[in-house]
């Protein structure tokens, strides 16, 4: 998966802590100006991978190339990248100005230059006028902005962000997501972003890297990851889905839940066991007599934009999202259009979530 002209190349990265495998053969390239997100549940190895790029951990095996040169032996303070840490890690003994100036003073920049850069940075993160404040007098969102400013002011080629919005409330988080994305596009810096929040990953990224148990599950654009999950883990982790066991009868024909369905996938072979993924919003409820399957609504939840209904068909309970509600107890038909049926190879390992 490595590529000649990529900015960062990770090749065959392995890392264990004591007996536990944190990273198990990671191959990944990161392009210049890319917004790439490492997404996965806690313990999947995403933070470890970020810390390896930052220089705070070293892998047991593998290579880390930056512009083609291996930088694994380069200590963090000499790497051309900066990090926004989880919970910010601001210097509590310094005020806002000195926190942001920290990296610039070490580079022995002239005072006037430091001053203008900080001024510009504070404008960018909308914190002008806070220079003299101590950081522990700031709110979580403000500390977050200062942490971003402290890293960005050094004009790094790559910014590493470790769950930077994790401690903020939902509304603020959404705002900051947009602002971060704008900053990234405006400054043209490569962002490597770690999060466990799939919505955040889909909203902000150019590329999403879904990880689980130390391995990369899928790499792709947000749309591709959502629409074409490669395995049951990705399908389950990204959004909600109905995952059923089925058999690929032939190209573009699959059987599951006791019925045969046309689909758009091919190349799986004939009579092959597969996993079938159908998003809840792609399940259409129709009259009992016109559906491809029939079942009974067992529960209804109002979710704001839509209703979430559980529909029992045989021994599988379908999750259905729809803006029109069918009362619990009613008999309904289920229809799925061919291109909303996603076929995946059966998982070899047991990721059944």
């Amino acid at each position: 998966m490595s590529r000649e002209n990529a900015l960062i190349n990770l090749i065959g990265i392995h890392k264990s802590f004591d007996e536990t495998k944190a990273l198990d053969g990671i191959d990944l390239f990161i392009d210049k100006r890319e917004f790439i997100t490492l997404l996965g549940p806690s313990g999947c190895g995403k933070t470890t991978l970020l810390r390896i790029i930052g220089g705070f951990e070293s892998p047991d095996e593998g290579q880390l190339l930056f512009e083609g040169k291996d930088i694994l032996d380069v200590p963090p303070f000499k790497r051309p990248l900066n990090t926004v840490f989880q919970k910010y890690a601001l210097f509590t003994h310094l005020n806002v100005y000195d926190n942001i100036a920290f990296g610039l003073k070490l580079k022995k920049l002239p005072k006037a230059e430091i001053e203008t850069r900080i001024k510009r940075m504070l404008q960018l993160v909308k914190m002008t006028g806070y220079e003299k404040r101590m950081v522990d007098q700031l709110s979580g969102g403000q500390q977050q902005r200062i942490a971003i400013a402290r890293a960005l002011v050094n004009q790094p080629e790559v910014l590493l962000l470790d769950e930077p919005l994790g401690a903020l409330d939902l509304k603020l988080r959404r705002e900051m997501q947009l602002e971060l994305k704008q900053m990234q596009q405006h400054l043209g810096i490569t962002f490597v972003y770690v999060t466990h929040d799939q919505e955040e990953a889909l909203t902000m990224s150019d590329t999403v890297v879904v990880m689980n148990e130390g391995r990369i599950q899928q790499i792709g654009t947000p749309k591709r990851i959502y629409d074409e999950p490669e395995n049951a883990f990705v399908a389950n982790f990204i959004g909600e889905s109905n995952i059923l066991s089925g058999t690929m009868i032939q190209d573009e024909l699959v059987s599951f839940a006791g019925g045969e369905f046309e689909c758009v996938d091919s190349g799986f072979g004939e009579m092959q066991p597969v996993d079938v993924v159908i998003r809840p919003e792609d399940v259409m409820l129709v009259g009992e007599d016109v559906g491809q399957l029939t079942g009974e609504v067992t529960s209804v939840l109002f979710k704001g934009v839509h209703y979430e209904m559980m529909v029992q068909v045989g021994d599988y309970s379908w999750k259905v999202h729809s803006t029109t509600m069918q009362p619990a107890g009613s008999k309904v038909g289920i229809t799925i259009v061919p291109f909303n049926i996603h076929i995946m190879h059966k998982e070899e390992s047991s990721h059944e979530a």
Binding site: H93, F102, D136
Partner: protein
């Protein structure tokens, strides 16, 4: 029942053993043997003998504090380091002396330094001359440092240990080499530990008495010894109280100074 009632036992204790004695000290300091008000006790203090003893107490305590800091900071730094986290045995070894009574420790030091003590006997058996190791300021200083250095190590160790490692990583990330990480982040963040270490060493050091007598072989006195003698030997409670009062004011003043120094460095006393 009101929660504040739980404080009653302690309040009673404090009234009996802190407030009442304090009032007595003030009372004795300003009265003569017949119980009449007088300033003579305070005036008597301004005598070259007492002033020079006070001066000696102060500078011995000062050097003791400096030496404790020079030994204690590296020790605390080492104890708090990652490499050391698993090695509890050494930690216990360093703090072990603290769990023993200071008189015991001082007697132990005495038996090392005496004219016919362990060190001198070893020197003689190796064919060297006996050294005068005891009965001088050096011996007293050594005894004080030996006794008080754990009180310097502990608060600094605590300050270093509770430091968020991410802050150190953040400094590295921003381009600080190990020396700059220490100078610009670790050291400033450990200042509260240093300040309380200095307080915990300087205060008992300046009021030291038994150490000076045991290791000074009675050759010279410290301020604490004088106070002890006034009470126990010359039975002059009035003058003894006056000296105690002066000592107390000195201590309060130095605590105030220390707090002020700390507040300045922390920009508002965040700790």
């Amino acid at each position: 029942m009101k929660r504040s009632w739980f404080a009653m036992p302690y309040i009673a204790w404090m009234a009996m053993f802190t407030i009442a004695p304090l009032l007595l000290v003030v009372f004795f300091a300003f009265t003569n043997a017949d119980g009449q008000f007088t300033l003579i006790n305070l005036r008597n203090f301004f005598d070259p003998t007492y002033l020079s003893i006070l001066w000696r107490s102060l500078y011995l305590a000062f050097f003791c504090t400096i030496i404790c800091l020079l030994i204690g900071y590296p020790a605390a730094f080492f104890l708090a380091s990652k490499d050391f986290a698993k090695n509890q045995a050494l930690f216990v070894l360093i703090l072990l002396p603290m769990w023993m009574n200071f008189l015991l420790r001082t007697y132990a030091m005495m038996s090392l330094l005496e004219d016919r003590g362990i060190i001198n006997n070893m020197l003689v058996s190796l064919g060297f001359e006996r050294l005068e190791l005891i009965g001088n300021e050096g011996a007293v200083l050594l005894g004080m440092v030996y006794n008080f250095v754990p009180f310097m190590i502990l608060p600094i160790y605590t300050a270093l240990k509770k430091m968020d490692t991410r802050v150190i990583e953040a400094a590295e990330d921003l381009g600080a080499n190990p020396f700059n990480v220490f100078r610009r982040v670790v050291f400033p963040l450990s200042i509260p530990g240093i300040v309380s270490g200095i307080t915990m060493v300087f205060m008992p050091a300046v009021t030291t008495f038994a150490i000076s007598r045991l290791l000074g072989s009675g050759n010279f006195w410290l301020f604490g010894d004088i106070i002890e003698r006034k009470f126990l030997e010359s039975n002059d409670w009035n003058f003894g109280s006056a000296l105690s009062l002066i000592m107390m004011l000195l201590i309060i003043a130095s605590i105030g100074l220390l707090n002020k120094a700390d507040a300045k460095q922390e920009g508002g006393g965040a700790w």
